[in-house]
C-alpha cells in the first residue's frame, strides 16, 4: 500500500517537474495578489501590519483554489484516472498520494515564500514564525478539502467557478484560525496555542476523511 502511495507521489512530482510553469503560476499568483494590497491601501505602517495576516491567508486560499482545478483534470483527460479506478489498490490511497504531491508542489512553495510577503506588511520575527507555522498546518487542509470539490466538479463545463463556490466556504474555518493565530501572536505568543491546536485538529480530520470522500466523488465523476 505504501509503495502505491510512493509510486503516485513520485509520478506526480516527475510530471510537474517536466511541466514547471504550472507550479510557478500558482506561486506568482500568490506573490502578486499579496503585493497588490499595499499598493491599494497605501503604505501606512499600522494599517499594513493590521491587514497583513488576513491578506496573506486570503491570497494563499485563492492561490490554492487556482491550483485545485489541475489536480485531477489532466489525469481525467488522458484516461489515466479511469485506469486508477481499475487498479486493485484502494482508491483513497492513490488520492492521498495525489493530494500530497499537489501540496508539495503548490502549498509548500507558498509557505516558504510567505515570510517575504510578511516582511512587506511589516510583520516581525515571532509573527513571521507563527505565520509560517500556521500556513504549514493550514495549507494541507486546503489541498485536502479542495480535492473533494475538484473531484466533484471534474469534467463539468465551467467547473472552475463552481469549484470556488463549493470550496471557498469550506475554507473559512482555516482562514479564521490561521489569520487569527498570526494576529494574536502580536499581542501574546502564549495565545497562539489554541489556534494552532484547532488548525491541527482540522488537518487530522481532513486527512482522515477527505481521501475517502474524494475517492467516492471521483467514481461518480468518471461515470
Amino acid at each position: 500500500m505504501f509503495s502505491t502511495f510512493l509510486c503516485i507521489l513520485r509520478r506526480d512530482i516527475t510530471l510537474a517537474m517536466r511541466r514547471r510553469t504550472d507550479i510557478l503560476t500558482t506561486l506568482f499568483f500568490f506573490v502578486i495578489v499579496a503585493s497588490l494590497f499595499p499598493l491599494g491601501v497605501g503604505s501606512e505602517k499600522e494599517v499594513l501590519r493590521f491587514l497583513g495576516p488576513g491578506v496573506v491567508w486570503v491570497a494563499a486560499l485563492l492561490a490554492s483554489m487556482l491550483a485545485l482545478e489541475r489536480l485531477f483534470a489532466s489525469d481525467f483527460a488522458d484516461g489515466t484516472l479511469e485506469q486508477m479506478l481499475l487498479t486493485p489498490q484502494p482508491l483513497s490511497v492513490l488520492v492521498l498520494g495525489k493530494i500530497c504531491a499537489h501540496w508539495l508542489l503548490t502549498g509548500l512553495p507558498l509557505v516558504l515564500i510567505a515570510p517575504l510577503i510578511g516582511l512587506q506588511y511589516g510583520l516581525e520575527g515571532t509573527q513571521l514564525l507563527v505565520m509560517v507555522m500556521a500556513l504549514l498546518v493550514g495549507t494541507p487542509v486546503l489541498s485536502l478539502v479542495g480535492s473533494i470539490g475538484a473531484a466533484l466538479t471534474l469534467g463539468l463545463r465551467g467547473g472552475g467557478i463552481l469549484l470556488s463556490l463549493l470550496v471557498l466556504p469550506l475554507y473559512i474555518p482555516v482562514l479564521v484560525y490561521g489569520s487569527g493565530a498570526v494576529t494574536v501572536s502580536a499581542i501574546d505568543l502564549a495565545d497562539v496555542q489554541p489556534f494552532m491546536a484547532l488548525l491541527g485538529a482540522f488537518l487530522i480530520l481532513a486527512l482522515a476523511f477527505s481521501p475517502l470522500a474524494t475517492a467516492a466523488a471521483l467514481r461518480i465523476s468518471v461515470e
Binding site: 509503495s3 502505491t4 509510486c7 503516485i8 509520478r11 516527475t14 510530471l15 517536466r18 511541466r19 483527460a77 488522458d78 484516461g79 489515466t80 479511469e82 485506469q83 486508477m84 479506478l85 481499475l86 487498479t87 486493485p88 489498490q89 484502494p90 492513490l94 468518471v222 461515470e223
Partner: protein, 218 residues
C-alpha cells in the same frame, strides 16, 4: 501459465444514457477460454456496455457477477482480475514509455522488473522509442505503449474497446496473437471492433447490440 477458471455473468442489465435506454434486460455469460465480440452500429452502446462490465459505470438495473459474486461487492478483488483499454490510452504524455508502464505495473500490482518492461516494449514494436516522452510518438505508437500492458499483466479478463484502431498491419497481427494467447491460457477477452478476429482455439461469441435498444444475444 494457465489462468484459473473464471466466469462473468450478466443478468437483466439495463443502462440509460440521458433519457435513452441503450439496452434493457441484457443477459450474457462468458467463461474461461472464450472471446466475446460486441458488435453494433456507432452509438448503440458498445463502449457503455464495456465500461459497465468493468465497473466504471453503475447500471440502472441488473447484476454483473464475477465468479458468482457481484463486482460491486468484490471491489478490488475484481479490479485485480481486469484490464481495460478504452479509447483513451491512459498514458501520460510527459512520461516515457518505460515510466508509464512502470507506474501502471506498480498500480496493477504486477511484480515486473525493468527488463520485462523493456522487453514488452520491444515485442510490441517500440524498440528505440522506449525512453522518449510519449508525446513525441505517433497515435499508433501511443496505442502500442498502452497495449504493451497486455504483455505485463496477469489479468484474467481483458476488456478492449476498439483495440485495433490506429494500428498498422504488423501491430494488428501482433495484437491478434496476444488475444489468441490470452484465450488459449484460459482467459476471457471482451472486445469491440469492426474487424473479424481469428482464433485458433477457444470459442468466439458475438453479441449484436441493435438499433433502438434491441438486443440480440447469440
Amino acid at each position: 501459465m494457465r489462468h484459473a477458471d473464471a466466469c462473468l455473468q450478466v443478468t437483466g442489465l439495463e443502462v440509460q444514457r440521458g433519457d435513452r435506454w441503450l439496452f434493457t434486460d441484457l443477459d450474457l455469460a462468458i467463461e474461461s477460454g472464450e472471446l466475446l465480440h460486441v458488435r453494433g452500429p456507432n452509438g448503440c452502446g458498445k463502449t457503455t456496455l464495456l465500461r459497465a462490465l468493468c465497473g466504471l459505470l453503475l447500471p440502472q438495473a441488473g447484476e454483473i457477477l464475477w465468479n458468482g459474486e457481484s463486482i460491486r461487492r468484490l471491489g478490488e478483488e475484481f479490479t485485480r482480475d481486469v484490464i481495460y483499454l478504452g479509447h483513451l490510452n491512459g498514458i501520460k504524455h510527459e512520461l516515457t514509455g518505460i515510466e508509464n508502464l512502470r507506474v501502471s505495473a506498480t498500480l496493477d500490482g504486477d511484480r515486473v522488473d525493468d527488463d520485462a518492461i523493456w522487453d514488452a516494449l520491444e515485442q510490441i514494436g517500440l524498440a528505440g522509442f522506449e525512453d522518449l516522452p510519449t508525446m513525441v510518438l505517433s497515435q499508433g505508437q501511443k496505442k502500442r505503449v498502452a497495449l504493451a500492458r497486455l504483455l505485463l499483466t496477469g489479468a484474467k479478463l481483458w476488456v478492449l474497446d476498439e483495440p485495433f484502431v490506429a494500428l498498422d498491419v504488423k501491430a494488428v497481427a501482433r495484437l491478434e496473437s496476444l488475444i489468441v494467447g490470452q484465450v488459449e491460457r484460459g482467459g476471457i477477452v471482451i472486445l469491440t471492433t469492426h474487424q473479424e478476429v481469428a482464433l485458433t482455439s477457444g470459442t468466439i461469441r458475438t453479441l449484436d447490440l441493435g438499433q433502438a435498444g434491441q438486443v440480440r444475444g447469440r
